[in-house]
Symmetry: C2
Subunit: 316 residues, 2 copies
């Protein structure tokens, strides 16, 4: 029933950190790592590797920077087959800060990029690959960037990069299953020697459905987060994905436990998940930043005004 | 872009009523009716037509019984093209209580049935059709009832009934898009002279995705509810469905307004939507009643125990 090549990557701390400036404390991150490890999840993405020259450690938590020593404190003494991943954004990392993989607890580096920055992304993944890391390129905001430049970018990746996996990232939660199917097929057609991954957002409650659609069309790297935590409406819930996949190596129970003990209390403190302004942003194919600002204002339930604002003027 | 044959049925009050014993007050129901009418939704299902000999009006609100006069009070004076629907359960209605359609504000009667009761359902829809109503048969718990008896039931419906529409009802929120596709195709293959409908449940956050899948494979009658209210994890959110369908007759804005004004306050008083016990029931293909009982107990966040209880013994 199951497809052995499928790898699940938990990005709870990394994408969830976008809702609290990466201010998860060590105990919390360690509880997540224990649960992810016990559940048999393949990868755990623990944060961003950003330069401290660009972002202040006073404003952001440790998982905005992901120093190797901080990661070691989280994983030390926990029995685990889970591989640690970090994400880097183009132009926000000092690549010389990244040690060779043999000296680091990190096993995978994922480069987040827009189509227009694909040359820089290729340079970076090649650099990290030479240092011994597994690498991915995550193409963000794909629902706004489906012109011929996308095919050209994919051809460049296939021909010029050492990357292992190329992700479709539905940053705006705009994809439906037909658009997901079309994109996976387009990626697979060009990236003949790479794996394809899928990272959904749940603005229209379609992150899990689109992830299933990506699986059907042979995407093998799947992102998910515990209880769906993540920017705005969040991501594909890991518990649903594990319930769907039939691979006996996965165990849903540690994920259920950590939701009970950690994520229910957290959900009273920070907001993520389905709310109407995110749904509107998703269906209008817009970045959720305006919706996130609305949720932090006294107009948080003024949906019609928000809808008409986007409809009449656009957000960008 | 749009398919003119698609009809949207709002069952906010009917399915939502399963979470509060149908105790919506008149003002609330009228606000919903106004919003549904202004949004251009084709049908609004206002409740069940149950016999007062079987259920006490002291225990249940008006929308458990749907007397014609109570419905008139809701709709009077509201400009509307929306047609009123009521649902009946096999064995719970006195069919002689139902007046001819020409004397009633109700335009459609939907008969909810299991596969095993299909003969009774056919008898009832034929009776209501003769009284001048549009009719549907809604086959519940379809994820547990996919044997050859289903094909036989569909053939009987096609050959012996006057029904207009036959619904696939994913009572347990267990279907994925592949199972949805397969069922819609199976229904369409046998029901050559009827329309096929889809009623999703959101236990695994797939109600909207499965509804899209049903649309793709030519189901034309689609159920949804405002802000996804409904039993347990609720239904396909109407606002998402209207955002997806491109038919210019629909207007999402009155739905956004009534969510702001009525459903956000209501969501603080009664619980519906995605919570882990419903997700577990959905993935295990079980009725949500045990999960609903858990949510009303002091073990509401004891997910592992609940999961192992279902896994080890089953619920039925």
């Amino acid at each position: 029933m199951f497809r052995e090549k499928i790898k699940v990557l938990d990005c709870t701390i990394r994408d969830g950190g976008l809702m609290n400036n990466h201010n998860f404390d060590f105990r919390f991150v360690r509880e997540v790592y224990k649960a992810i490890s016990a559940a048999g999840i393949d990868y755990m993405e623990i944060g961003y590797k950003n330069s401290k020259e660009l972002f202040s450690p006073k404003e952001y938590g440790a998982w905005k920077f992901c120093d190797d020593d901080e990661i070691r404190k989280v994983i030390e003494g926990v029995e685990s087959e889970t591989r640690i991943s970090v994400m880097v954004d183009i132009g926000r990392v000092n690549i010389d800060d990244v040690k060779p993989a043999s000296e680091s607890p990190v096993k995978m580096i994922r480069v987040a990029t827009y189509v227009k920055d694909i040359d820089k992304a290729i340079f970076m993944v090649n650099h990290f690959a030479e240092k011994g890391y597994e690498t991915t390129i995550n193409i963000m905001a794909i629902s706004k960037d489906q012109g011929v430049e996308l095919d050209e970018a994919l051809r460049q990746i296939e021909n010029e990069s050492k990357v292992n996996v190329v992700y479709i990232v539905d940053s705006f939660g705009n994809l439906y299953q037909e658009t997901t199917e079309m994109l996976v097929k387009r990626f697979k057609a060009i990236l003949k020697t790479r794996e394809v991954g899928f990272h959904g957002h749940n603005h229209q409650q379609l992150a899990f459905g689109n992830t299933i659609e990506a699986i059907i069309h042979n995407a093998n790297y799947l992102d998910a987060t515990i209880y769906g935590i993540g920017r705005a409406a969040g991501n594909c819930p890991l518990e649903l994905l594990v319930g769907f996949l039939k691979n006996p190596k996965f165990d849903i129970r540690p994920i259920l436990d950590v939701i009970s003990s950690e994520f229910i209390p957290l959900s009273k403190k920070i907001e993520w998940g389905y709310v109407i302004p995110y749904a509107i942003a998703g269906m209008m194919n817009e970045h959720p930043r305006a919706a996130m600002a609305l949720r932090n204002s006294d107009k948080k339930e003024s949906y019609r005004e928000f809808y008409e604002g986007i409809k009449n003027t656009g957000l960008d």
